[in-house]
Subunit: 465 residues, 2 copies
């Protein structure tokens, strides 16, 4: 009898324990558990497995990354890091300060992994059209973009039209095309104030249109008396790429001049926002807002209906609008940005960019060899305070007589910048240094700059700060 009692107690104890465990499992089933997940589980597990691949903090693996020998995708390493897990620093590798890949925002998105993840069903948006009246524009995304501009206060959208493009890149030529097709007897002259973003010239010249030609520096036409009969289209980049200055059109007030405002960098990461931009054609891109340059998504805010119609036609005939996958992605990312009325992402981004500019300025402050563009603190209506500069690029000038090819001078010191000459004629004394890349890129840039001789004249050997 004693044994039977003991056995009962064991069964009782086990039953109780097991039941508690059952309840635990069942609770998780009904409260935030995953087992209501069905078709998306496998894809989610795959994505999480790839995200968990270790790249030593100097890279990341992508779901669609190169797969060697049937294994998992390889690490995509930051510049100057290598090896299977990016742990190998490559000391002879030049610091990458060339292109404007916005990796400085990558940590923000890794910190917001849950809210920024997007699951795309196999049957998602197979068709060509969102709706009959606006086939290529996601209405939810357009609505969120208008809200975004209202929250940030960096552009007027009320009463304006919006067109999407594959990055601002596509919209630049769409705008040129739209503004130059007025059956004028002579081609419109496309101008931009030096130094300007090289794509304006390269793109304009590449398409070999009958309706427009690239004419160079806008300032050359400012006071010209012969230009009364000419039609001008001026690219105005504000803040400017490469030097971060806020700008207005040089040919403002000219009777036959129209302006395309490229506001790619007009976000609180990079610029104070004194007032909402209020121009006839304003172009933005998600590349410099959230950092997703690969998504190829931008938008134009347009005042004139005829210009809007022509740009819409351009988009339709060039690419039948923008990828629906890019639009879904942009919507998800902008929703995250708007979660706290954009405070967090811009504080995150501004803090990094401001610190980088301070460090760079400090590193070069005693240098007679180099100088940076002058940027003054300015009041920002978004942050409601005076902001220190936080530009996306340094527009570095080589001051030494023998450094008239500034790009080569930096190359010799193990830094790859972007040649100033690409931004206009006779600018080889300048180099654009990208400050928006990864922390690895910026740290190495700063390190290499700090090792360069600082004083005027020919000097041998490195002189530390």
């Amino acid at each position: 009898m004693a044994n039977k009692v003991n056995v009962s107690v064991v069964y009782l104890a086990w039953s109780a324990f097991s039941t508690v465990v059952n309840l635990f499992f069942v609770r998780n089933l009904y409260v935030g558990g995953d087992w209501n997940l069905s078709w998306s589980k496998k894809a989610a597990a795959e994505a999480e497995a790839v995200a968990a691949i270790s790249c030593s903090g100097h890279g990341r693996a992508y779901l669609d990354g190169l797969v060697l020998n049937g294994e998992e995708p390889i690490c995509d390493c930051n510049s100057c890091y290598g090896g299977p897990d990016c742990s190998l620093f490559l000391p002879a590798c030049p610091a990458n300060a060339d292109s404007g890949d916005p990796y400085f925002l990558e940590p923000f998105w890794m910190q917001h992994a849950t809210s920024s993840a997007l699951v795309v069903a196999g049957w998602h948006r197979m068709g060509y059209s969102y709706s009959d009246h606006s086939p290529n524009i996601s209405p939810e995304l357009e609505s969120h973009i208008r809200t975004l501009h209202s929250v940030v206060g960096n552009a007027i959208t009320t009463g304006r039209y919006i067109v999407f493009g594959a990055g601002s890149t596509q919209l630049l030529n769409a705008a040129v095309n739209a503004l130059s097709s007025d059956n004028s007897s002579t081609p419109a002259r496309i101008v931009a104030l030096f130094p300007y973003y090289p794509v304006y010239k390269m793109q304009t010249e590449f398409f070999q249109s009958k309706n427009y030609t690239f004419e160079g520096d806008a300032s050359l036409w400012e006071n010209s008396t012969s230009n009364a009969t000419m039609n001008f289209i001026e690219f105005v980049t504000s803040p400017n790429n490469p030097d971060g200055q806020l700008r207005k059109a040089v040919l403002h007030g000219h009777p036959n001049a129209k302006a395309i405002y490229d506001h790619a960098y007009y976000w609180p990461h990079f610029s104070p926002i004194p007032t909402p931009a209020d121009e006839d054609v304003m172009i933005f891109t998600i590349s410099k807002l959230t950092g997703h340059a690969g998504a190829r998504f931008g938008w134009a805010i347009i005042k004139d209906e005829a210009v809007y119609e022509r740009m819409t036609t351009y988009m339709g005939l060039n690419t039948i609008g923008v990828s629906r996958d890019s639009q879904s992605r942009a919507l998800k990312l902008i929703k995250v940005v708007l979660e706290d009325r954009a405070r967090e992402i811009f504080e995150f981004g501004y803090k990094i960019m401001r610190d980088r500019w301070e460090k760079l300025s400090k590193t070069l402050s005693t240098s007679k060899r180099f100088s940076l563009q002058k940027l003054a603190p300015q009041y920002c209506s978004f942050s409601q305070k005076v902001r220190a500069p936080s530009p996306a690029y340094a527009w570095l000038k080589c001051e030494r007589e023998e450094d008239r090819d500034c790009y080569s001078a930096l190359e010799a010191a193990g830094i790859t910048g972007r040649e100033g000459g690409k931004f206009g004629a006779e600018l080889d004394r300048y180099v654009r240094l990208s400050l928006i890349r990864s922390q690895d890129d910026f740290d190495l840039l700063l390190h290499r700059l700090s090792k360069m001789p600082k004083s005027q004249g020919k000097e041998e050997g490195a002189k530390p700060l």
Copy 2:
């Protein structure tokens, strides 16, 4: 004592049951269970919730669909269905046989929900480049496309270059641009054999290039003796849109004629594959392979390196390549296609298209009012048998004298096709009917056609088959 024994039995039974249940839970935890999911769970649950929204089988809800009043996204209904859950048939609505949205493949993707789902992390592909040597092209995707063509046997890719575009649409003009920029004294003449895809003309004329002009019907230049000094670029669509005929270049053999082969429909859904296409420039699109027109993804297979370089430059300056989100999506979809060496999707697609053509042909077989294009069965090397026709479009001819505006004749009968006149001059007696839309669209088209009077001459009232 009997009671104690009974109680023991109860505890034993419960323990056993409870333990088995726990083992079941634990098995699921370690074998395909979800609790190792973390950051992707929420997004996965959202996507599954939207997928579960009922649209009565006459539509579907999208994750980024329009949201009214803060509720879940609305149903995106098939043509002629309405109401919040698409259950309301709209009897006065014209049957949609206009655009080529490939919804006929949507059920395939719903059946393959697990394998075709894609989870995009917030930090996915933020940068501009895949690699230094080929910044805009996903190497995994390119590799899978080559495999796909090898498996299907519809194009030679060995020793060829591949360029991606936002749909074939972007690649058409990129190819024209690349083939016409040889510093010729006169613009290249762009031609295509009637009936042709209207975009060739619309796009070519829209860009107003100095280097090319649209000249119309290729057959007008076939035997012209004055064309020895002229440069021609011929669009060859094979199978053709709108009539599904396999084609070769009309100006083949002409010393100064180059051809751009548009093979959008050269897949076993729509066409026999007698032999792998082997032309200098061949363009494909995922729109007509998997049905994902919204992804805006296509590719060109190019023989000549200089042409490849120019097209790559075009892509770079037009849009900095194709959205990385579209490329990830395309890779996932093509992987699913290749799972069983493409058998399943093409059997699925071919069966539907062949059945639709049979039903349409039968419906119109006794009609003296309408005729369809003649398509003969042909041997297909992919399926290794002679295939019945399964074209994407019907190229319907109105045979009655008074139906010289065929589009309006059909419009009056509650069918919206695409006017034949858009496909070339003096083709108003024809209408293109899209057969690749949803089953709802095809059923309604067939129904409306079957209600139309069939005989020659003016007749009143409907005559059923």
